[in-house]
């Protein structure tokens, strides 16, 4: 599903350039549940941005579902993000002036689904994440855990192959974190590839593969029994 070959990425600052990802090679198969860990500055966020087609890379190759990312135009990348990828962020990134249903329906708007149909799809997705009674609430009327559920529903509504989560529990208390993590495990159980960037060992412990990044390289790639 995801294949990186000798990938390099630098940020050019005003005077010097910062080499963030160094000859990174990595393969993630379909249906895997992977945690990416590393200290801040290890390049894990950059890696997620590259995986999410949000950022470009300098050299090497990134294949997503058999497609080479480098060849994609901005428009093609946008379409691929829409259909193949789902994003979950630490700070949720819900649009504050839209209701839960409208937030979840937003990706469907960009894939050209008619209004009535996408609202119905969004509502059923919200029911699946346990928010069937919060459809018309604004984000400000929801708790942190509920917001993240809405965000996960939004990530899943286009039925993507890959879910990319950037510190999904970073802003949540431990009780809620566990619930959200359970939800992500369910998503993975449906056969979707789930990649979670986290610095919490508790979260990483529940996955089946933990990749440690250190200074732009893979320090450790360990498979484990998730639980």
């Amino acid at each position: 599903m995801i294949r990186l070959e000798a990938l390099n990425k630098s940020y050019v600052m005003s005077e010097h350039s910062l080499h963030v990802l160094k000859d990174l090679s990595l393969e993630i198969a379909e249906g895997e549940l992977v945690a990416i860990m590393g200290s801040s500055g290890s390049g894990k966020s950059t890696l997620l941005n590259v995986l999410g087609l949000l950022d470009r890379y300098d050299s090497g190759a990134y294949h997503l579902g058999g497609k080479l990312a480098r060849d994609l135009s901005e428009t093609e990348a946008a379409k691929l993000r829409n259909s193949h990828l789902g994003f979950v962020f630490q700070s949720f990134h819900l649009l504050p002036f839209k209701t839960a249903v409208e937030n979840v329906a937003l990706p469907l708007y960009y894939s050209g689904v008619a209004r009535r149909k996408r609202n119905a799809m969004a509502a059923s997705m919200l029911e699946r994440v346990g928010l069937g009674d919060r459809l018309d609430h604004l984000p400000s009327q929801l708790s942190g855990g509920q917001k993240q559920r809405v965000a996960i529903a939004r990530a899943l509504v286009t039925d993507p192959k890959v879910l990319l989560a950037d510190e999904p529990t970073g802003a949540l208390d431990s009780q809620t974190s566990t619930e959200i993590l359970e939800l992500l495990l369910e998503v993975n159980a449906e056969g979707r590839t789930v990649v979670i960037v986290t610095h919490e060992p508790d979260v990483a412990a529940r996955t089946r593969r933990v990749i440690h990044l250190a200074d732009g390289r893979i320090g450790e790639d360990r498979r484990q029994e998730g639980g």
Binding site: N82, F87, S91, H93, R115, T158
Partner: protein, 416 residues
């Protein structure tokens, strides 16, 4: 484009800042309003002035004698050229001439004379005319008739007087026709009263004139064969400008004036006057468009400005939309559509308000009202203004949209 969600988005964005939106819209509204109103009143002025000129026959040439400035055929410069009756036939032979009206004025150009009727007196211009003059310079007969060929042939002491003269020398309700007026001791029988079709300054002056038969004039006032000036009507196929050149050449030859002498024979034609006025209105129209478009441009800059702020404020939202699958095109078109909507709605309101004002003004001014007549804009002007507006709207969106498209989702999503 006809996407309900898109319109909802735009409505939301504009509604979030009502005051700012209203002030921005006001700029465009005002620009459009000014453009339409100025164009409308410009048109009204043009209609009025050209309309009153049209009522004069447009193809008229006036020629008069002047003092020569060049020696020619043995004549010294400084000689006064005087036209005579013999010139009438000569001018009539010039191709393109339809009417020739020799004219004399008592006391010289624009001087007036004391006219008496019973105990009342007034001061008016007295002119010697032929019937053709009334074809060159049409006027409305209030009572009686104009000067006819028989008056001329028999040198009758008849007079056709302007409305103003009639009003001042006669009692209200009294018909001047059949009564006598005294001009320099001679009695003239009033046979007609006229008024001019329009009511500008020139018409007011004409309404205070007295016209007597040309032959009678020469005889009674001892003018001999002298003709002060000619009014000449061109036929339909001849332009007044060409005719003036031909007539002047003919008269210069007859009166031994050097062909290159700038003076000697004076002349003027209505075409030249009409051309001057046309050029003037061309200039006014350019000025109006220039000022109007610039005012509109100021409004458009306002729209562009507000959108720049809006884009800045919505950086995170736009970044998120990009992450969720919004293409750069959909972001750009969203901003441009917002700009076009804001300009189109407020500009259209300005257009409607401008046209409404012009309609009210047009109604208040009535059918015929001198220099300002039927102010308004025609459909093609309104369409042109609309095109300018749409173009302006799109232009207003370009820079903000470019900024929006340049937003990197990575930076937008990580700016907390």
């Amino acid at each position: 484009m006809f996407d309900l969600d898109r319109w909802t988005e735009i409505g939301d964005a504009l509604r979030k800042n009502k005051l700012r939106t209203a002030l921005t819209a006001l700029g465009v509204f005002w620009g459009m309003f000014m453009l339409v109103v100025m164009l409308g009143f410009g048109n009204g002025l043009e209609n009025g002035v050209k309309g009153s000129m049209m009522r004069f026959t447009t193809n008229v040439v006036y020629v008069w004698g002047e003092r020569t400035t060049m020696a020619y055929r043995g004549f010294q410069p400084g000689r006064e050229v005087d036209f005579t009756n013999a010139d009438i036939a000569a001018i009539r032979r010039v191709p393109g001439v339809e009417y020739v009206a020799p004219r004399n004025q008592l006391g010289g150009h624009r001087s007036s004379n004391v006219i008496r009727r019973g105990s009342k007196t007034g001061s008016y211009q007295v002119l010697g005319e032929t019937p053709d003059f009334f074809k060159i310079s049409p006027r409305i007969l209030v009572s009686g008739r104009f000067i006819n060929p028989l008056d001329l042939e028999e040198k009758r002491k008849t007079a056709v007087i302007g409305q103003q003269v009639a009003a001042e020398l006669f009692e209200p309700g009294e018909d001047p026709v059949g009564h006598y007026i005294s001009v320099q001791g001679g009695s003239f029988l009033v046979v007609g009263v006229f008024r001019m079709a329009s009511n500008d300054d020139r018409s007011d002056r004409e309404n205070s004139t007295i016209h007597v038969p040309f032959s009678t004039f020469q005889h009674v006032f001892n003018y001999g064969e002298r003709v002060s000036w000619f009014a000449i009507g061109a036929d339909d196929d001849t332009s007044a400008g060409d005719l003036e050149d031909r007539v002047r050449a003919e008269l210069a030859d007859r009166h031994h004036v050097h062909p290159d002498d700038p003076e000697g024979i004076g002349g003027f034609n209505s075409e030249r006057e009409f051309g001057k006025v046309s050029k003037l209105f061309g200039g006014i129209r350019f000025f109006v468009w220039f000022v109007g478009v610039m005012t509109l441009a100021a409004g458009v800059v306002g729209v562009s400005n507000i959108l720049l702020i809006v884009v800045k404020e919505r950086t995170k939202e736009i970044g998120l939309r990009r992450a969720l699958g919004a293409t750069p095109f959909s972001v750009v078109s969203m901003i441009v559509q917002e700009a076009v909507t804001l300009t189109a709605v407020s500009g259209y309101a300005g257009l409607v308000a401008g046209v409404a004002l012009l309609e009210v003004a047009s109604m208040a001014l009535g059918e015929d009202s001198g220099p300002m007549s039927q102010p308004g804009v025609d459909l093609s002007t309104a369409l042109a203004a609309g095109v300018v507006l749409l173009f302006a709207g799109a232009l207003a969106g370009v820079i903000p949209a470019r900024n929006a498209a340049a937003i990197s989702p990575v930076e937008a999503l990580h700016s907390e």
